[in-house]
């Protein structure tokens, strides 16, 4: 059943992506409701798929990348729907839904059971959940940064096109960027701590400086600097947008590296 709902979800997200991208370029607002409807239905179907998948989970099964990415895209859409509900910001969907689709398609390409079969405990689930929640924060920050740079570019070059009229105010995007990092950063911190704990339990050492652990720490330090820079010396607006885009690119590269090596989740 989970597999069927997973396919339904993917189909709906694909349709919503197409419709949301068309919405971005079309002067009318008509497509927004259709796109939103498909996203919300897809989200419901995804929830069922995840719920059905959970039934088979026991303490000893390992969360693999399939589950992690699927969960990532679920939370991403959840956050989008929440922001949409509060601020009526349809255009956010044009950026987040494609991202969720890519994540879901990547999940589909990966095997459902993780290749690493070291017996681990519930801590690994906590670690994966927290890290993924933190990553969602950075993903939203990335999207906000991207939208910021587009709107900034349009305003500077005085191109008042459809995109300009649909994108929200710059300070809203900057605020969204800040909030996402402020929320994502502590979650990632907790994710890294629980990851170190589960590494200690399964391998007997907190940190063995393998590439993915190193990258995770580099990512952590990067976002720490970004956050501090914003709060103290005014790294906001355009600079914050650039930094969060670079940071998220780093996160993606780490994930790809880890997946290609066939290791367990990033710790």
């Amino acid at each position: 059943m989970a597999a069927m709902f997973f396919v339904v979800t993917m189909t709906l997200y694909f349709a919503a992506t197409v419709s949301f991208l068309a919405y971005l370029l079309w002067p009318s607002e008509a497509l927004s409701n259709v796109s939103l409807g498909m996203t919300a239905t897809g989200f419901a179907s995804h929830t069922i798929a995840l719920g059905a998948g959970m039934i088979g989970v026991t303490d000893v099964s390992t969360p693999g990348f399939h589950q992690a990415l699927s969960f990532f895209s679920w939370v991403l859409i959840l956050v989008f729907l929440a922001v949409e509900f509060r601020h009526r910001l349809h255009v956010l969907g044009s950026f987040i839904v494609p991202l969720a689709l890519v994540s879901l398609v990547s999940a589909a390409a990966l095997p459902e059971t993780a290749p690493t079969l070291t017996p681990v405990f519930r801590t690994l689930w906590v670690h994966v959940t927290l890290s993924m929640l933190g990553t969602v924060g950075f993903a939203i920050a990335f999207v906000a940064g991207l939208m910021y740079l587009i709107q900034d570019g349009l305003l500077k070059s005085k191109r008042f096109n459809v995109l300009y009229s649909k994108l929200p105010a710059l300070d809203f995007l900057d605020h969204l960027n800040q909030q996402s990092i402020v929320t994502g950063f502590p979650l990632l911190t907790l994710g890294i701590i629980t990851g170190a704990l589960s590494a200690e339990i399964s391998r007997g050492s907190y940190l063995n400086w393998n590439p993915e652990q190193t990258w995770a720490l580099v990512t952590w330090v990067f976002y720490f600097v970004v956050l501090m820079g914003r709060l103290t010396v005014g790294w906001r607006a355009k600079r914050a947008a650039y930094l969060t885009i670079i940071g998220f690119a780093g996160v993606i590269l780490t994930l790809i590296g880890v997946v290609l090596k066939g290791h367990g989740p990033v710790s």
Binding site: L155, L167, D171, V233
Partner: protein, 463 residues
């Protein structure tokens, strides 16, 4: 009964005439009372804004109604005669009057198409009319419909989003940089007319902090007072610029007053919070090189005009959409009005024939005293049956023709054939009032039997 509008607007009359006719809010009630005291005026509502003075009314006869309302408008001002007003007025009746009201409410007839103020003004005018019982079943329905049409136009078209003046364009651009203008500070440099207008638009859109600087300190103080802001010494405004989110420059200076370095320094002091600079001066007062500064957004008068031109084009499309909506909605109201005219006619017809039947029965049965109960019943039944068969076709035809273009003619014919007199709406309580047909009596008739509102202003119930 006819719906009419008589009035003048910014399109037909200069401000000198409009301001003479404008009715201040404090005298609105009195004016409505006077309007409704005119013979043949059944319902009325008075819309008085800086751009238009209009009377919407339900009158017995179109031509005499036009004349009376025009007299009413001229009466408000002693120095104007009704004839002097004629070249500036417009008169519409029926569908065109309703359509006019819908277009006004939807801001399609406004000086700045798409502005939202007019809808609030119509609501206020309607509230006043309701409080003074000047409107009745027809205007209540039509004005409420106008309000809902206006809301539909606002939600279903983008007409309200279009900036169509330079100062609106400035506000619209600012809203793409700052989501909440109420926490922002505007610095007004110089006292050019356009900049003052823009400052006023910013204040209307929520900006609360205004700082003003001009070469003449006295002038700056006066302006600051007018905008409830603070005056800044002209020599110091460049240092002060960092405290402003929005800088509006419009001076007569022939050179650049604000350089790239000045803006760069301000943005740095602001810890990279965005700055929005508008240069409305010609020749320009802000160095165009400022556009290279990150997080500073400079727009000059040409940029704003480009935006206005773009919006004008888009707005035309939106206005066309809105016009089509108005046409549809007028059709709906027209149907309602027509059914309204037939229903009282049918009721009056029924009452009339029943009266005749009863009178004849009384007469006949009085002479046939020896009839048994059953025989009496048979006679009564026969009378009812004849009457019903006689009027049956008339009733059916009236109901069937209600929505046809000749509906009104059928109603008129039925009224004449059966001597039904004037439309029923207002003569139910005629005996209770000495002069029939004023708004107040028709109001009372419609609302509740027995509630007879006095017609003189002094006795008007004040709600």
């Amino acid at each position: 009964m006819h719906i009419v509008v008589v009035g003048l607007s910014h399109k037909t009359a200069p401000v000198e005439i409009r301001e003479k006719l404008a009715v201040p809010e404090s005298r609105m009630g009195e004016a409505l009372t006077r309007l409704c005291s005119y013979q043949g005026v059944r319902e009325g509502i008075l819309l008085s804004t800086c751009n238009r003075v209009e009377v919407y009314a339900v009158v017995d006869e179109i031509e005499s109604g036009y004349g009376r309302i025009q007299d009413f408008l001229a009466d408000a001002h002693l120095s104007l005669s009704s004839e002097q007003l004629t070249p500036h007025m417009y008169w519409h009746e029926g569908d065109r009057a309703i359509s006019h009201l819908f277009r006004v409410a939807s801001s399609l007839d406004s000086m700045i198409v798409g502005e939202s103020q007019i809808l609030g003004q119509i609501k206020e005018a309607f509230d006043v009319a309701l409080a003074h019982k000047a409107t009745g079943i027809i205007l209540n329905k039509v004005v409420k419909k106008a309000i809902s049409v206006a809301k539909r136009v606002r939600t279903e078209t983008k007409i309200a989003e279009m900036a169509v003046s330079v100062s609106y364009a400035a506000v619209e651009l600012a809203k793409k940089i700052f989501s909440n203008l109420s926490e922002k500070t505007v610095l007004l440099v110089g006292a050019g007319e356009m900049a003052k207008l823009a400052a006023r638009h910013f204040i209307a859109n929520g900006v609360r902090h205004v700082r003003v600087t001009t070469r003449n300190p006295q002038h700056a103080l006066e302006l600051a007072n007018r905008f409830s802001g603070t005056a800044v010494a002209f020599e110091e405004f460049l240092e002060d610029m960092a405290s402003a989110d929005i800088v509006l420059v419009s001076t007569g200076a022939a050179h650049y007053l604000v350089s790239e370095d000045d803006v760069q320094r301000s943005v740095k002091q602001r810890m990279n919070r965005p700055m929005f600079l508008i240069d409305i001066s010609v020749p320009r007062n802000i160095d165009p090189a400022v556009r290279h500064v990150d997080n500073a957004f400079l727009f000059d008068i040409d940029d704003l005009k480009t935006r206005v031109e773009q919006n004008r084009g888009e707005r035309l499309n939106e206005a066309e959409k809105a016009e089509r909506m108005v046409v549809d909605e007028v059709g709906i109201v027209r149907q309602w009005l027509q059914s309204l005219e037939v229903t009282p006619t049918i009721m009056a017809l029924r009452a009339r024939v029943d009266d005749i039947k009863q009178a004849e029965l009384d007469k006949t049965l009085g002479r046939l005293a020896n009839l048994s109960a059953l025989e009496r019943e048979l006679v009564e039944e026969m009378a009812s049956s004849i009457v019903n068969k006689l009027i049956h076709n008339t009733m059916v035809t009236l109901k069937a023709e209600v929505n046809s273009s000749e509906g009104a003619a059928f109603v008129e014919a039925a009224r004449r054939f059966f001597s039904l007199g004037d439309p029923a709406v207002c003569n139910v309580n005629e005996s209770a009032s000495t002069s029939s047909g004023t708004c107040h009596s028709s109001q009372a008739d419609l609302r509740e039997v027995g509630e007879v509102t006095p017609r003189t202003g002094s006795k008007m119930p004040d709600h």
